[in-house]
């Protein structure tokens, strides 16, 4: 019997005990002057929790423990004597056995594995039955305990609410665990990487060619991990080209929509811009690679610009800029809306035209908010992956030519982690070091941006 089925049975038992608890609580007839402290539903819920929680905790723990027991039984079997000593080899054989048993592995590589499959199967069955029995016993014991507590003065509601609060706190803590997981996993792998490559070389080296040598005597494949070309490519595409497209367009869109557009037009344009924001990045990437990049290359070739590549920085940057427009527009929208109406009225009353008011009063007043929005947009653009993976190149060039191919941090992370992976090679670990750099930079940008926006909001409140 598999764990999900046992879990379902436990839940069914819980539902039954809920009904039992509720009926018994309603059937209680306290004496005069006494009344049920909690409503019957809470008594039912209390029963339910006592049935489900201990059994579920056990099942989760058991699903981690049971495989250990199964492995021990398998290794104690007579046929297991020929197995290699504990280590990677033996783990491989054990994995093969479990693969053979559930049918995901067709034929065994190790002859001993074939013999051990029946042992494995009986052991799995054995421990599954044990787990099932213990879980059901726990559920029944929980129900029994909860029934004894069922009295008119019992504070079932307070108990249930305590459990609810624990659940709420647990849900909130998941965010901390995730942050912790991200930081620890990136730091751990990056430290392994920095043992092989010095952080100084990584941060300031000008040469990036992560291929490690297949043979010791191979020429030019020692692997160089100087990430400056990647940083430049990322900044060039995400912070320069994309922003040249996105900031003027986004700002003007926001100005037109908030200051000039009639409500009916706004009702149509705003959802359209939101839709532009909702298009998946892989679609933008395909669009960039299929339509924009060839057009830009043909243009560059016809004008005679040297070094034009079909994977130009310009194609990726322009499409990324288009992707960011709605974001910049909505940030600018918010900051323009936060400028006090009195400033606008004052300017108009002095005889300034609306455009003069916007250019001389509104935009300067909203500037900190706009700058904050642009910083957030930059942090988004440099973390963007699919557009650059599909439309930017892989060549790590340090160039100012927008028609040439450059590569970015995210492109290289994808490149390093796809294909054959060995988890301890410098090549794979480099991806985590790049990820850590990316994380730190985006977080710093975000913190600065939020500070700027907050300060500016306070100035007008």
């Amino acid at each position: 019997m598999s764990t999900p089925i046992i879990a379902l049975i436990v839940l069914a038992l819980g539902a039954i005990s809920f009904l039992v608890g509720r009926t018994r609580a309603s059937a209680l007839q306290p004496a005069m002057g006494q009344r049920l402290h909690s409503r019957p539903n809470y008594h039912g819920a209390h029963m339910f929790l006592w049935v489900v929680i201990p059994a579920m905790i056990f099942l989760v723990a058991w699903s981690f423990v049971a495989p250990q027991f199964v492995n021990r039984t398998v290794l104690e079997a007579p046929a297991a004597r020929q197995l290699p000593p504990p280590g990677i080899d033996r783990d491989a054989v054990l994995r093969e056995i479990s693969g053979l048993a559930d049918g995901s592995v067709e034929a065994s590589f190790n002859p001993a594995a074939e013999q051990l499959v029946p042992v494995y199967k009986t052991a799995v069955q054995h421990y599954a039955v044990i787990g099932c029995i213990i879980a059901l016993l726990l559920a029944i014991a929980g129900a029994g305990f909860a029934v004894t507590r069922l009295k008119w003065q019992f504070r079932a509601r307070n108990r249930v609410e305590q459990v609810v609060m624990v659940g709420l706190i647990g849900a909130s803590l998941i965010a901390i665990f995730t942050t912790f997981g991200i930081v620890v996993s990136l730091l751990f792998e990056s430290l392994l990487f920095f043992k092989k490559v010095s952080p100084f070389e990584f941060l300031f080296g000008l040469e990036w060619s992560p291929q490690t040598a297949l043979r010791a005597d191979q020429v030019g494949s020692s692997g160089a991990f100087g990430a400056v070309p990647l940083f430049w490519g990322t900044i060039f595409i995400g912070a320069i080209i994309a922003m040249i497209v996105a900031v003027p367009l986004g700002l003007m869109c926001a100005i037109y929509l908030t200051q000039y557009a009639k409500p009916r037009l706004r009702a149509w344009i705003k959802p359209a811009l939101e839709m532009l924001a909702g298009v998946p990045t892989v679609v933008y990437g395909y669009f960039a690679a299929l339509t924009v990049a060839p057009a830009i290359r043909n243009f560059a070739a016809s004008v005679g610009i040297p070094g034009a590549s079909s994977e130009s920085a310009l194609a990726a940057g322009v499409v990324m800029g288009v992707m960011i427009i709605p974001f910049v527009s909505s940030m600018a929208d918010d900051s323009l809306a936060a400028v006090p109406q009195s400033m606008r009225d004052g300017s108009l009353a002095l005889g300034a035209t609306p455009s003069e008011t916007i250019r001389r009063v509104l935009v300067p007043a909203a500037l900190p908010g706009v700058v904050g929005g642009v910083l957030l947009a930059v942090s988004r653009a440099i973390g963007e992956t699919m557009i650059v993976v599909m439309a930017a190149g892989l060549a790590a060039n340090l160039t100012l030519n927008p028609f040439a191919s450059v590569t970015t941090v995210t492109t290289q992370i994808v490149q390093l982690l796809t294909g054959d992976q060995e988890f301890d090679s410098a090549k794979t670990l480099a991806a985590f070091a790049l990820g850590l750099t990316l994380l730190i930079v985006t977080l710093i940008l975000n913190i600065i941006a939020l500070r700027v926006v907050k300060k500016y909001r306070e100035a007008y409140e």
């Binding site: 509601r157 609410e161 609060m165 659940g167 709420l168 849900a171 909130s172 803590l173 998941i174 965010a175 901390i176 995730t178 942050t179 997981g181 991200i182 996993s185 990136l186 003007m252 037109y256 200051q259 000039y260 557009a261 344009i269 959802p271 811009l273 839709m275 532009l276 909702g278 298009v279 998946p280 892989v282 679609v283 990437g285 395909y286 669009f287 690679a289 299929l290 339509t291 288009v322 035209t353 455009s355 003069e356 440099i382 973390g383 963007e384 992956t385 699919m386 993976v389 599909m390 995210t410 994808v414 982690l417 988890f423 985590f432 990316l438 994380l439 985006t442 977080l443 975000n446 939020l450």
Partner: protein, 434 residues
């Protein structure tokens, strides 16, 4: 301004001379020109604004039209009517054997590929084989699965044409292929029409028989996991932070983590999934459960932030009224605040899910880019999802994949637009302004 100056005149005789002089300056030729140029600047500025809006809208329209135009061809497929004689290869396999429990094994004994090739040669000459798709035998197989009695018969079936024929039928003009197509047309053995192959089959190396069903099913499984995990956790965290959390260092830490997580690039979540779920917990590679977990961690902060805003929008008077009636603090939230905030939370959840649905990079990191030729049957089976499938097809050299990729994009966009439209509907229909 000149009006004010004139009105002010009689009341203040001392300055009246200067004021009329000033009025003259205001109506002078230079001033009129200056005002005209200011109004022109106004119109220009306004024009630039309109231009920016139209350009942005134009990008969207261009993108959608390009994809739709290229993608429409992907839903159609040229097919060729081929006479096949199943009886010639049946070798004792009976209809009962095919429909029985061991039908798949019986099917495996039939050499359908040779049958297709021979039939093509017999009908269209030595070159006949090149007219048909390499996956043409798959149509024979599904025809047999649908109707096992065909095994003893001679029949005519529509099978997918080769990529060249398909492209010729859709307007590509290679003269040799066009001649072949004309010959087929003369025999009335070819048609191009809406084909269910694209919606019902999975990935393949041959663009004439690829489909999105496998990727679509993978997407559904992954999204199911994401929704089950991210929605309750996000909603409960939002409730805790907005309603119960005491103002202390721990709460600040939780808030800072949630705000930071919302800003972390998605590829970092992929690295997290790779390092934690795959390497630490040894979960299966490419499986929807790992993809769902990774996307759930990514979506959760979005739902928390939307949820907090929705809960904040419920006025305190509701809480005070419930408390005054003797409700406990948990009852206040779960009986009154949460139902009122639910439309806002749902809107946020749908928008977060739509974002997760289009997400590609983290799933590539955890290995959901493998070549999967059959739809996944469970949460731990290797699978791929629609955006990753689009990414994989975009890398294919074969020209036939261009229209298939665009068609997959059309499906993905339709799906996303439905989700976003639902979110907007929810927002407009149920959200209350207090």
């Amino acid at each position: 301004m000149s009006d004010i100056a004139l009105e002010g005149g009689p009341n203040m005789p001392a300055g009246s001379k200067e004021r009329t002089a000033a009025a003259a300056v205001w109506t002078s030729e230079t001033m009129r020109r200056r005002v005209a140029s200011r109004y022109a600047a106004e119109r220009r500025f306004r024009g630039i604004g309109l231009f920016a809006v139209l350009l942005s809208g134009g990008f969207l329209a261009f993108l959608l039209i390009t994809m739709a135009y290229k993608g429409l061809g992907g839903f159609t497929q040229t097919e060729i009517r081929l006479p096949v004689d199943f009886a010639s290869i049946s070798a004792g396999v009976t209809p009962e054997a095919l429909s029985g429990a061991k039908g798949d094994e019986a099917m495996a004994t039939l050499d359908l590929e040779t049958l297709v090739n021979d039939a093509a040669k017999a009908q269209f000459g030595e070159e006949g084989q090149s007219l048909l798709s390499e996956g043409a035998w798959l149509s024979l197989r599904s025809a047999l699965q649908a109707d096992p009695s065909l095994i003893n018969q001679k029949t005519e079936l529509w099978v997918p044409a080769s990529e060249d024929i398909d492209r010729a039928a859709k307007g590509d003009s290679d003269p040799a292929i066009q001649r072949q197509l004309a010959a087929l047309k003369a025999q009335d053995r070819v048609k191009t029409g809406f084909s269910t192959i694209f919606l019902s089959s999975s990935d393949s190396t041959d663009p004439t028989v690829v489909g999105i069903w496998g990727a679509f099913k993978g997407t559904l499984l992954t999204m199911l996991i994401t929704a089950i995990l991210a929605f309750p956790v996000g909603m409960l965290a939002a409730v805790y932070l907005e309603e119960y959390a005491p103002r202390n260092r721990w709460t600040d830490l939780i808030e800072v983590s949630i705000n930071n997580l919302a800003a972390v690039p998605s590829i970092i979540f992929g690295l997290l999934g790779l390092a934690v779920f795959l390497n630490f917990f040894n979960m299966p590679r490419s499986a929807p459960i790992v993809g769902g977990l990774t996307l759930a961690l990514m979506t959760m902060p979005v739902i928390v932030i939307a949820g907090r805003n929705a809960i904040k929008a419920v006025p305190p008077s509701i809480r005070d009224a419930a408390l005054a009636m003797g409700a406990s603090r948990v009852q206040v939230v779960f009986h009154h605040v949460l139902p009122l905030a639910m439309p806002g939370i749902l809107t946020g959840a749908i928008i977060g899910m739509a974002r997760a649905l289009g997400e590609t990079a983290p799933l590539i990191m955890i290995g959901m880019r493998a070549f999967i030729s059959s739809p996944p049957s469970g949460f731990t089976e290797p699978a791929t999802v629609l955006p990753v499938q689009i990414f994989l097809w975009s890398d294919e050299v074969s020209q036939g994949f261009v229209e298939k990729t665009s068609a997959a994009i059309v499906v993905l966009l339709l799906f996303l637009m439905t989700m976003n439209a639902t979110a907007i509907y929810f927002r407009n229909r149920f959200e209350r302004r207090w």
